[in-house]
């Protein structure tokens, strides 16, 4: 039975109560305790730096050449915090409520409340680190509103909020590296988790420069390895993002929760050809001023500026008058897909909608728009060659964020004792849909303010445990398995590249486990993925040797995606309702809105690994709503 370990008591007291009662580790004992942190994005850097400051012995790993490049760097829009600086009625409860509702009532109340509660301290922490957030002329912090909420609680550093927050965390981490409390292993990829007597005790990594397989032992392991949305191949994620670390942990016994919930972001650049490797995100902040429309006429062949007002369908404003262009991502994405599928899409592949700034430019002047979004307009022009001050941008939905991930309890611990998952790698806090600017927040808050307490609570019982012996047979077995897999992949000797399989898998998932899903499509997808996996092990080709070899790195990640993709389809198939980003065509209202079923599906699916080609084991964590009443999510 899954135990989420949610503390007793009223919502607003739970976290305080937990902290007051959590076990502590005395500073003299901390230096005897070793912790491994995999991942140096916001979640990983912040926890590694925090633990280093506290005096634990920390080893941290990432596959890039430096922690400053983790995918968190790419986040543009902003980070949420309820500071109520605008005096517009924001408070912890409201933020909690918006987040729970945004997630379509499929997240745990206690976790979400804690997220909102800790949000204000994050801004304090980041400012103290020197993060140059946007400021008013008087010198006080500025903020703005973001998709899905009606108060201003999004703090931003131009269009580079992720970069600046990550640099803050990276610098804090570098300080600890300099002090010797954290050891950094860049260009090292975790390829397996080692458990001894059921507890997480270490990892096997591959040095990506030398090919050397290394063993690292610890008293606890933290995975902060980010999201797996790149499984769709075309996505807004960085090329290296992958699900391997959490997937390998899953195969060692950690449950995977809600893997099929992927956020499809409404404002990405559309696909323009087969050669494309990623879809670039245009920050959602653009929706504050841009108006979204498609022509009223199918196969409209006039240029956008020649389509008069009366021939334009501002479908978001039409369908959701209260939120309009600021409706949450799942709603905005689905509405775009609906119009595109109905034949009103624009652009050469008819796969986009317009995001139009002409009204904002007329009302506010081009200077103001340039000041707010200049870098985004420049980026748009670099990629498309089009000047968006002159004609509307073309945007389209793209895979963006995985709400699913390793199942964790309130302490952010997985079902393997001693294995924690932070940031996008865990499933917590966002339910079936993430509100914009909540992810940077979650990654940071997990690392700076939550795991330092919950990890100590675990480690307090490990003080007498000696350092992990990396010669233990469990390490031998894991290291051998990693070696065997590398040789297996290298030895296939087929004809097709890892990218070929990745792209093919991505297409299957977009079509059948993407913006909308049906039982029939999902069943087909499961069959197709199984077949693709077989083909992978028969026809893959990896040139080069066992040292620096990006093709080999990719192949390992694709092998994991081919298993994870199937689980995603299983998960989507068993959830016979529509909620948040999960839209099952069989469950919709006559107006085409998602139809949730709280009676039967107010739970988190947490899947266990049963072995290769075995059906996954289904566990459920029921969701109880003590403090809010789930309502129909209406943005009309």
């Amino acid at each position: 039975m899954l135990n989420a370990k949610i503390p007793e008591g009223p919502l607003e007291d739970k976290w305080r109560h937990y902290k007051e009662h959590a076990k502590l580790v005395n500073p003299a004992n901390r230096k005897k305790l070793e912790v491994i942190v995999v991942g140096t994005g916001l979640a990983g850097s912040s926890i590694a730096a925090s633990l280093g400051e506290m005096g634990y012995r920390v080893k941290t790993f990432c596959f890039q050449d430096t922690p400053r490049r983790a995918h968190s760097v790419a986040a543009q829009g902003g980070v949420n915090a309820c500071k109520n600086y605008k005096n517009d009625g924001d408070n912890v409860f409201r933020m909690f409520y918006d987040t729970i509702k945004g997630g379509d009532f499929r997240a745990r109340e206690a976790n979400v409340y804690r997220l909102a509660e800790c949000s204000a301290s994050l801004i304090d922490q980041a400012v103290a680190q020197g993060v140059p957030f946007g400021r008013e002329y008087g010198g006080y912090l500025n903020n703005r509103s973001f998709g899905g909420v009606q108060v201003s609680r999004t703090f931003y550093a131009r269009g580079q909020t992720g970069q600046q927050l990550l640099l803050g965390a990276y610098q804090a981490l570098m300080r600890q590296v300099h002090l010797g409390s954290v050891q950094l292993f860049a260009r090292h990829e975790m390829l397996d988790l080692v458990t001894i007597d059921g507890k997480a005790k270490g990892i096997i990594v591959r040095n990506l420069d030398t090919g050397e397989i290394q063993r690292h032992g610890a008293h606890a392991v933290i995975l902060a390895t980010g999201g797996f949305g790149k499984i769709y191949y075309l996505s807004t994620l960085a090329m290296g993002c992958n699900g391997s670390a959490i997937w390998r942990a899953h195969k060692k016994g950690a449950l995977m929760a809600n893997p099929s919930w992927t956020q499809i972001h409404p404002t990405s650049l559309p696909q323009s050809g087969e050669y494309q490797s990623k879809l670039t995100l245009m920050s959602e902040s653009l929706r504050n001023d841009g108006r979204i429309w498609v022509p009223k006429k199918e196969q409209e062949d006039r240029l956008p500026n020649q389509v008069p007002e009366e021939d334009r369908d501002y479908y978001l404003e039409r369908r959701y008058p209260a939120f309009g262009n600021l409706s949450p991502r799942d709603i905005a994405s689905r509405a775009a897909k609906e119009r595109i599928d109905a034949g009103y899409g624009v652009g050469p592949l008819k796969n986009a909608v317009y995001l139009d700034f002409s009204k904002a430019i007329k009302d506010q002047g081009v200077g103001k728009i340039r000041e707010k979004y200049g870098n985004l307009f420049r980026m748009y022009e670099k990629i498309t060659g089009v000047d968006a001050y002159q004609e509307p941008m073309k945007i389209s939905p793209a895979a963006h964020f995985s709400m699913g991930g390793l199942w964790v309890d309130y302490e952010l611990m997985t079902t393997i004792p001693g294995l924690f998952a932070l940031g996008e790698a865990n499933f917590a806090d966002h339910g079936a849909n993430r509100l914009g600017a909540n992810s940077l927040l979650q990654a940071c808050v997990d690392g700076y303010f939550i795991a330092p307490y919950t990890l100590a609570n675990y480690l307090a019982d490990e003080i007498k445990t000696p350092a992990t012996d990396v010669q233990h047979p469990a390490f031998d077995a894991a290291a051998k398995q990693v070696q065997d897999q590398l040789h297996l992949l290298k030895g296939i000797g087929g004809k097709l590249s890892a990218d070929y399989f990745h792209k093919t898998l991505g297409k299957i998932l977009y079509d059948k486990c993407g913006l909308s899903r049906s039982a029939e499509g999902l069943k087909q997808a499961i069959g197709e993925i199984k077949a693709l996996r077989q083909q992978f092990y028969a026809d893959l080709f990896i040139p080069g040797g066992l040292t620096i070899n990006s093709e080999l790195e990719k192949a390992g990640r694709v092998a994991d995606y081919l298993e994870l993709g199937e689980l995603m389809c299983h998960d989507a198939l068993t959830r016979e309702e529509s909620c948040g980003a999960h839209f099952r065509v069989e469950y919709q209202t006559p107006e085409g809105e998602a139809m949730r079923n709280d009676q039967d599906f107010a739970f988190i699916s947490a899947w266990g690994w049963a072995g290769e080609n075995q059906a996954p084991i289904w566990n459920k964590e029921p969701l109880t709503f003590e403090f809010v009443t789930p309502t129909v999510r209406s943005y009309k």
Binding site: S46, D65, T66, P67, R68, R69, H71, V73, A74, D124, Q125, V127, A128, Q129, G130, P132, G134, G138, G139, Y140, A157, R158, Q160, Q163, Q164, Y170, Q171, A172, M174, R175, V177, H178, L184, D209, A238, M239, G240, S272, G273, Y275, Q276, S277, K278, T280, M379, K382, I383, G385, Y448, P452, S497, D499, F541, P543, G544, T547, I548, N549, S550, E551
Partner: protein
């Protein structure tokens, strides 16, 4: 488009390396430069050859991981553009393109176009931070920072650490990178307290890594994808001199 390529191939850091010729037909002008390299790699793979190693991750101009010399220019012909944001429409049909790794003693080549830029991390480790621990920060609005100051700090903080500044500098100086961090932190009240200690340590580390000195050629600013200004170098020098003068 039809493209001819001359690309630096080097097995490992010991190998001497050489330029090698490749050819690509049917390059779409909307492709990004890295997608063109993907296409070439796909072609090499079909012929059973080792793929060309190059560094990249975000492919949206923000992680700073990509970066090669293209026809002798860091990140290619466009101003303020990373390699991943460069598109093939910037080249002519039939053109020959030379691609080499960023070169500097402090950035050894690892394989083909991949280099080792960890020297930058060590420069930051020497002091490129504000020494604040977690969980003790004061209310963020307790120290107002004027809009122009915050914006100026931001201009410096925007550095992505790609290393183009080092690669284009005839002295392989890391002055632009290091000075950007020094300015970012020195301008903010939170970072000003440690400014002297920071500048001495970071400049010391920069020298220890084998980066050359700045002789004001300003090629770094011209090639920087983030438009980081050489004025930061002036500030670094000023901070450094001040620190030396006031040293106890």
């Amino acid at each position: 488009m039809h493209i001819r390529l001359k690309i630096w191939r080097q097995e490992n850091s010991q190998d001497t390396g050489k330029m090698q010729d490749y050819e690509l037909a049917d390059v779409n002008s909307d492709m990004s430069f890295l997608e063109m390299l993907d296409m070439l790699n796909e072609q090499l793979l079909e012929q059973g050859q080792r793929a060309i190693e190059f560094d990249h991750d975000c492919r949206e101009g923000i992680c700073g991981q990509c970066g090669v010399m293209i026809n002798g220019r860091a990140h290619g012909p466009l101003k303020n553009t990373t390699t991943c944001q460069l598109h093939m429409r910037s080249f002519r049909d039939g053109e020959t393109i030379y691609i080499e790794p960023f070169r500097a003693t402090a950035f050894p080549v690892k394989c083909d176009l991949k280099i080792d830029r960890t020297a930058f991390d060590r420069v930051i480790q020497a002091g490129g931070y504000i020494a604040v621990n977690t969980g003790q920060a004061p209310e963020a609005n307790s120290i107002p920072i004027g809009h122009p100051v915050a914006e100026a700090a931001f201009d410096a903080a925007a550095c992505i650490g790609c290393g183009a500044c080092v690669a284009v500098c005839k002295n392989s100086s890391a002055a632009l990178f290091t000075s950007a961090k020094i300015t970012h932190l020195a301008l903010l009240p939170q970072g000003a307290v440690e400014a002297q200690e920071r500048v001495r340590r970071m400049v010391g580390q920069m020298d220890a890594e084998g980066f050359g000195h700045c002789s004001n050629t300003e090629a770094c600013e011209a090639e920087c994808p983030q438009q980081i200004s050489v004025l930061h170098i002036a500030r670094m020098n000023w901070e450094y001199n001040k620190a030396q003068l006031l040293k106890k």
